[in-house]
């Protein structure tokens, strides 16, 4: 501030009628919005920049940093575990998202037409979303346990074979996806419900007059008009799906000395963020951890571009 106040005099005194320069006129407005930017600068932008700097070094978190150039990134590209974690993340995301969208849509349509206890249902469906993931994961761990789990009990009852859910590559992925589906269906159903209620009812009336059945109405009217909502839901679940961490971490941790970030046998539940934690905090390899974080960033950017393209196409 002091520096800025010294600048004006010397050259030409501004005449009193001349309007003040931008920052002088509006400084109090800038000051009013500054807290967010200052905090963002300290706790958002600086760490981001520092992680870029960190990714060019080797560092154990305590000692001195050692310049590593681009070698961390070079190693990242050849790191099969990293690619495996990307694959896991995307598979789990797909396994969770598509059933979730379907279920959420069905739930929303039902909620939209339900007459009684509407409020109660909405609260009930939203509840899983505000429950702690750790608590949910512990419960799911029991539900999907091999010998004493509820899911296998149902399987036994209908004559299917037991599945070692938390001990086989696909079992692990399905379990994590089931957890995410359960957690997000209600939330997205509420979003869909909001979308459904913006569709004017005269459209439905007109359709009925033209002799359209409920199925036709759904596919010709409801679905196209829900498209913006659908995209929103897709974008949000992509963002959360790519960041999945607590779900596999809590589900797959064991009481032994095992790494809690390994993601079960064959790393089959090791998501990108889990891999990042393993490299950074198990191995104390902060430089490589930062490089992994930037790798994750690129994957997220890629998915964001895909999402953006989907939205753009609609605008044409």
């Amino acid at each position: 501030m002091a520096v800025l106040e010294q600048t004006p005099p010397a050259v030409a005194q501004p005449s009193p009628t001349q309007p003040k320069k931008g920052w002088r006129k509006y400084w109090h407005l800038y000051a009013a919005i500054s807290p967010f930017y200052l905090i963002f600068l300290g706790f958002g932008l600086f760490p981001v920049g520092f992680s870029l700097y960190l990714s060019l070094h080797r560092w154990d978190g305590l000692g001195s940093m050692e310049w590593a150039g681009l070698s961390q990134y070079q190693y990242l590209l050849s790191d099969s575990d990293f690619w495996n974690s990307i694959g896991n993340t995307i598979i789990i995301w797909a396994l969770a998202t598509f059933p979730m969208i379907f279920l959420a849509m069905v739930t929303a349509v039902m909620l939209n037409s339900a007459v009684r206890f509407k409020g109660l249902y909405r609260v009930a469906y939203f509840l899983p979303n505000v429950t702690s993931v750790v608590a949910i994961a512990i419960v799911f761990g029991s539900i999907f346990s091999t010998n004493s789990g509820l899911v296998n009990a149902v399987f036994n009852a209908v004559g299917l074979d037991q599945v070692a859910w938390l001990n086989t590559p696909w079992g692990i992925k399905v379990t994590i996806a089931a957890l995410m589906t359960w957690q997000w269906t209600g939330y997205n159903a509420i979003i869909f419900l909001a979308g459904l209620q913006t569709i004017p009812s005269d459209l439905y009336e007109a359709a009925r007059m033209d002799g359209a059945g409920p199925v036709q109405t759904f596919f010709r009217i409801t679905l196209p008009l829900l498209r913006p909502t659908l995209l929103f839901v897709l974008v949000v679940s992509t963002v959360t799906g790519l960041q999945s961490f607590s779900e596999p971490q809590v589900l797959l941790q064991t009481s032994s000395n095992d790494s809690t970030f390994a993601g079960g046998p064959g790393h089959s539940g090791q998501t990108m963020v889990l891999y990042f934690f393993q490299q950074t905090f198990d191995n104390n390899d902060f430089g490589y951890g930062a490089a992994v974080a930037w790798g994750i960033f690129l994957v997220v950017v890629l998915f964001s571009i895909i999402n953006w393209r989907l939205v753009q196409r609609r605008g044409e």
């Binding site: 109090h28 000051a31 009013a32 500054s34 807290p35 200052l38 080797r58 154990d60 978190g61 305590l62 000692g63 070698s71 190693y75 050849s78 790191d79 099969s80 575990d81 761990g141 029991s142 346990s145 091999t146 010998n147 004493s148 789990g149 070692a164 938390l166 001990n167 086989t168 590559p169 941790q253 064991t254 009481s255 032994s256 000395n257 095992d258 790494s259 390994a262 046998p265 064959g266 790393h267 905090f281 198990d282 191995n283 104390n284 390899d285 490589y288």
Partner: protein
């Protein structure tokens, strides 16, 4: 007083500015360590005996305010962050045994306890444990808290029904090699169908490696995970799988606990602190368990240290507190309160540690853990051990759980290790 909108805005702005300035000002004056009479001690829940901490506070009350703080969550990350940030560093810091490899290369962040006269306490502590607290350059970073001698927990009645030795002394004597231990597993499975000796192959692999005096990376930063000591552990783990004595359960899951409770998983190799996990996990098994020696020789798993950081202003005082808190009598108290098995052999004969344990059918478990603690050999703890041990542990798990071909698994593990070693600058 009536507040106009403008007035409210002004007040808000002034408040924000004051906070920002205050933050800046205090930012300049953040103390590195503690201030005044304070002596800050960082540890984690269950890391020290609450009774001992309380007594230490009272005992040294005339000279310092001992401020013992339990740090939750990721303890090491928080300690490292604080030290690197050079602000509010505790005077005394607990260090977990498994994290020592990360601290020792940075011994300059801690005060060398030898300069405070640690040597004169040396003969009261287990010598291997003492050595674990010392860095490569000879700096003594950690003062021993507890240790975790590994023993063989088993269910008396099940072993008896299977025609196996069942008194602790007999189990220790007869199941003293891996070969005999595995034979017992086969007999167990045949006599009592559905019963498995061990939860997974990793317990065999890791305990065999831990029994030895070498692990994955040596002092010269050379990868040794492809050598005989690891190959042997690998072969024994594969053998356990081949002989069908390991379950397909995951340790720590409800499945495993119910199998233990039903006697279908009557045996496990665990450190002294695992007794508390068993008591909590299967309380109904009270009286059914006994403790015997692990086959071949004991190993260590866990155990931690106290250190004095560079930020400490009164190291002599801190050292006095540490040595008092970790003397033989207080370590015995730590065992009673928190299951911390003492690193001071003089504790083992004390009354608190000679109590028969009803959970173990009235056995005095110190009789097993005490002698075991004194026979432990420890390996060099390289900062690269975690990164280079993980691929091998992952692959043996794949053999055990997914039925992967052991040969393929071994070569996969080795090629991964080669890649990681190169990345970390470890010679292969």
């Amino acid at each position: 007083m009536r507040l106009s909108r403008r007035g409210l805005l002004r007040a808000g702005l002034a408040g924000t500015a004051a906070t920002a300035l205050g933050g800046l000002a205090s930012g300049c004056a953040v103390p590195t360590g503690s201030t005044g009479r304070n002596m800050v001690l960082w540890y984690w829940s269950g890391g020290l005996s609450d009774t001992v901490v309380k007594n230490a506070k009272a005992r040294y009350d005339s000279s310092v305010d001992l401020d013992a703080i339990q740090i939750g969550g990721q303890y090491r990350s928080k300690l490292i962050t604080t030290i690197t940030g050079r602000a509010h560093i505790p005077d005394i810091a607990g260090l977990k045994g498994e994290d020592m490899a990360a601290y020792l290369p940075n011994a300059d962040q801690f005060i060398d306890l030898r300069t405070l006269g640690a040597e004169k306490y040396k003969d009261q502590y287990l010598s291997w444990k003492w050595d674990q607290g010392i860095a490569d350059d000879g700096t003594m970073v950690g003062f021993p808290i507890d240790c975790g001698p590994v023993a063989h927990y088993y269910q008396y009645e099940i072993f008896r029904r299977a025609g196996l030795p069942y008194e602790p002394a007999d189990v220790s004597k007869e199941l003293n090699t891996w070969e005999r231990f595995f034979d017992a597993g086969e007999q167990l499975r045949k006599r009592i169908p559905g019963t498995m000796l061990l939860t997974d192959v990793n317990s065999v692999f890791e305990n065999v490696v831990q029994q030895g005096s070498k692990r994955y990376v040596d002092k010269d930063r050379h990868f040794i995970g492809d050598q005989e000591h690891v190959r042997r552990a690998w072969a024994l783990a594969v053998e356990a799988k081949r002989r069908g004595i390991v379950s397909d359960l995951v340790s720590g899951t409800p499945d495993q606990l119910s199998a233990k409770q039903d006697g279908k998983l009557p045996s496990e190799l665990g450190a002294s602190w695992a007794a508390f996990d068993i008591k909590n996990g299967v309380p109904k098994a009270k009286g059914r368990y006994r403790v015997a020696d692990m086959p071949v020789r004991p190993a260590n798993n866990g155990g931690s240290f106290l250190s004095i950081t560079k930020a400490c202003r009164e190291p002599e005082q801190a050292f006095e507190i540490i040595t008092w808190m970790l003397n033989a009598a207080n370590q015995a108290q730590g065992y009673v309160d928190a299951g911390l098995f003492p690193s001071t052999p003089a504790s083992y004969g004390l009354k608190q540690m000679q109590e028969p344990d009803e959970f173990f059918g009235g056995q005095v478990t110190t009789d097993v853990f005490g002698p075991a603690a004194q026979k432990i050999a420890v390996a060099y703890n390289s900062p690269f051990d975690v990164a280079l041990g993980q691929p091998i542990k992952d692959e043996i798990k794949n053999v055990g759980v997914l039925g992967k071909d052991p040969k393929k698994a071994w070569s996969d593990a080795m090629s991964k290790c080669r890649r990681i070693a190169k990345h970390l600058g470890v010679s292969y």
